[in-house]
Amino acid sequence: MQKLSEEQLENLAQDLDAIRNEQMADLGQRDADYIRGIIRLHRTLEFGGRAMMPLGFIPPFFLAGMTSLGIAKILENMEIGHNVMHGQYDWMNDPELNSQTYEWDTICTADSWKRTHNYEHHTYTNIIGKDRDYGYAVLRLEDETPWEPKHLLQMINFINLSIFFQWGVGVHELEFEKLRSGEVTLREKAEFLRDFARKGGRQVFKDYAFYPALTLPVAPIVIAGNFGANLIRNLWASSVIFCGHFTEGAENFSEEECENESRGHWYLRQLTGSSNFTGPNWVYTLSGHLSHQIEHHVFPDIPAYRYREISPQVQAVCEKYGLHYNADSFPRQYATVLKRVAAFSLPDRMRERLFPEFRGDGGPAESPDNTRSLVGRLRSRVSNTLSAAA
């Protein structure tokens, strides 16, 4: 982990708080107009897509309908739902855009999401053992988790997770791995399972029963189109999210490193544990501005479209403290995610030979001022020894 002194951490927190306060003081009509514009676009695309779908026996209509509905779901999940549930628009005092009451168009219930994502993931970002989003308990992406032969096939998990992403997110809070180890019981998860079933049932009913039934003669086409739309959303959402923390330079942390951490240390972890991708503005919008994952993690409740505007300020702060600001094009970042999944599917010694960039804690390998922490070095040495012994 890139390290800063206590004093530097305090200054870092002050610098970032200053950016945050400036943005918060500036919230106003512009933000309201922006999110309402996105909502109008979402409604138009959704109704447009659903209206075109029954004409899907004509191929261009099928494609247009499916794409339109797919993009609508992407916008609703990423630019509206995710951001509203972060409380980015609570200040508007609009009951339709309130973090406590908003419910989104995906399997996962808003309440479950806010517990696992807003609280667990955003508070304990990339801390192995505490942030279950790091690998979603089905991927091994770091060497603190001991290698097992089953990891050889984790690329299959990765592909499945990408395809069925909304289901993966939906059952995330079930903590399947803890159920299996007996750490939690099914009884403790009864309430979660009930909510999951109700919300999942709704989502399935809507796309695979209600709308197809409305257009009965062409129901199979509508079912196929809706499935395609969900698939488009799943693939894009998962890819965007994987690029946020699993890229080559994004760091992960051990629990010991983060015990009793200061606000400055939390900021440091968000800066070094997240990664951005670059592209045209429409890509940013479609990613819910998670293209700017670094800014999002530092300021999770600032309206997301502002991230691209404050990105230069955050970069300047990183530069000031010699921290790596991890940003690259989407294809390049996604390639390093695939590489990470592949690298950590291998036994440690083989990984270190084949993927020398994923040695140790996965900190920025080619960063010139890379000051690899003692803990990180020790950890990789221990794991080397262990794998050598194996």
Partner: protein, 390 residues
């Protein structure tokens, strides 16, 4: 004595009722719509899902509040105006002496502010219009803006009418003691009396600073002609600064048969308290007095220091905060179990509805507004009396 105060959240109530009435008019039952709304749009009121599109086509089609077209604006005094509004037909009407909330968006934020209706229900019943008289609250956030920024033709949001029904009954003699903008619900009651051709003896003691501060002067003139038994006494208390004429026993002594009268008080808190004491001294029983507190507008009491009385409305617990603990800690110390996550302002798990009062954000040092809004319990301390939905 009976008091009607605007303690419940007019905004939510208004919306709740409005969608019910909308649904009641549409074919299938309310439950069916609610169920379908949940299935298809993840919200109980399916109509609201279409709002962003409906509103942009015609603002009068909005469902999340009741839209009203501003028909005319008349100046009453240098700092007050009467707005004639034409609400959408689904608005439910009102009773004399009731209030409504104006719901407006200013700089992207929604505000809901209570005002008294200043006309008789016959206006709504006969030509579909209502009047609301607004007096500028010095240093207020909304009223100065409201008075400056609305023009005939604009659309404004209103809630359902609420508050005690003060429809005048025939028979008993009445005494109104009002001050400043406290005259507005009385205008409604007197006009309702005239509409019903009631002949009760009525004395109106109306205190204003100077003659230029008389609100509803034209209406009072007209009423004096329609109500032969109206004894109209406008007291310009500070017209002659050397010789001020504030409410005193002499004003009441000249009221014929005082102890027989039904008394209605509306005005600044100081005047009302004083009037109550004087009436009690004169032998008027408590049951004969009713009052409305809020027509003077929400009193903003900004104290320099943090701390104050915190009322958790759902559990009906009141605690005294010294201002040295965050609201989350206050709630926990009071034995409540609010939901929380990071306890450092990141995750919004503890976001809670504040119905009134001012809180200070400890991260920014900024005080909030005094209206209803969502706040994070873990980073706010109260400044004066605060009410939370917890």
């Amino acid at each position: 004595m009976q008091e009607s105060m605007n303690t419940d959240s007019g905004m939510n109530r208004g919306q709740d009722r409005s969608y019910r009435s909308v649904l009641a008019k549409v074919g299938p039952g309310r439950e069916t719509w609610r169920w379908l709304g949940q299935q298809l749009f993840n919200r109980e009121n399916p109509a609201m899902y279409f709002d962003p599109l409906l509103e942009s086509i015609n603002p009068l089609w909005a469902q999340r509040y009741i839209p009203a077209r501003v028909e005319a604006i008349e100046s009453e005094t240098h700092d007050s105006k009467t707005l004639t509004l034409r609400p959408a037909r689904r608005w439910g009407g009102f009773r004399a002496g009731q209030h409504l909330n104006l719901e407006v968006e200013k700089d992207g934020r929604w505000y809901s502010r209570p005002f008294s209706l200043s006309c008789a229900p016959s206006h709504w019943e006969q030509d579909g219009t209502i009047t609301v008289t607004i007096k500028k609250v010095a240093d207020g956030e909304i009223t100065p803006w409201l008075l400056e920024n609305f023009e005939p033709g604009d659309v404004i949001g209103i809630s359902r009418a609420y508050g005690e029904d003060h429809t005048p009954e025939p028979g008993y003699p009445m005494l109104f003691i009002t001050g400043g903008s406290g005259i507005t619900p009385v205008l409604s009651q007197l006009e309702a009396m005239a509409d019903r051709h009631l002949r009760n003896p009525v004395t109106l003691l109306y205190f204003v600073r100077t003659e230029a501060d008389v609100i509803g002067g034209r209406k009072l003139q007209a009423l004096a002609e329609r109500l032969p038994n109206l004894d109209l006494r406008i007291v310009a208390a500070e017209q002659d600064p050397q010789n001020p004429d504030h409410l005193g026993p002499h004003h009441l002594q000249s009221v014929e048969g005082l102890t027989e009268r039904e008394c209605f008080l509306c005005g600044p808190p100081g005047l009302m308290k004083h009037a109550q004491n004087l009436l009690a001294d004169a032998g008027v029983s408590d049951e004969q007095i009713s009052s409305t507190l809020f027509a003077v507008g929400p009193g903003v009491v900004v104290t320099e220091d943090a701390g104050g009385t915190v009322h958790f409305s759902r559990s009906d617990i009141t605690v005294e905060s010294a201002g040295d603990r965050r609201l989350l800690e206050e709630a926990e110390a009071a034995g409540l179990n609010p939901r929380y996550g990071c306890r450092m302002g990141i995750c919004h798990q503890c976001a809670c509805r504040k119905t009134s009062g001012i809180v200070i954000n400890q991260q920014t040092g900024q005080p909030s507004g005094h209206g209803e809004e969502t706040i994070q319990l873990c980073i706010n301390v109260p400044q004066g009396a605060v009410e939370l939905e917890l």
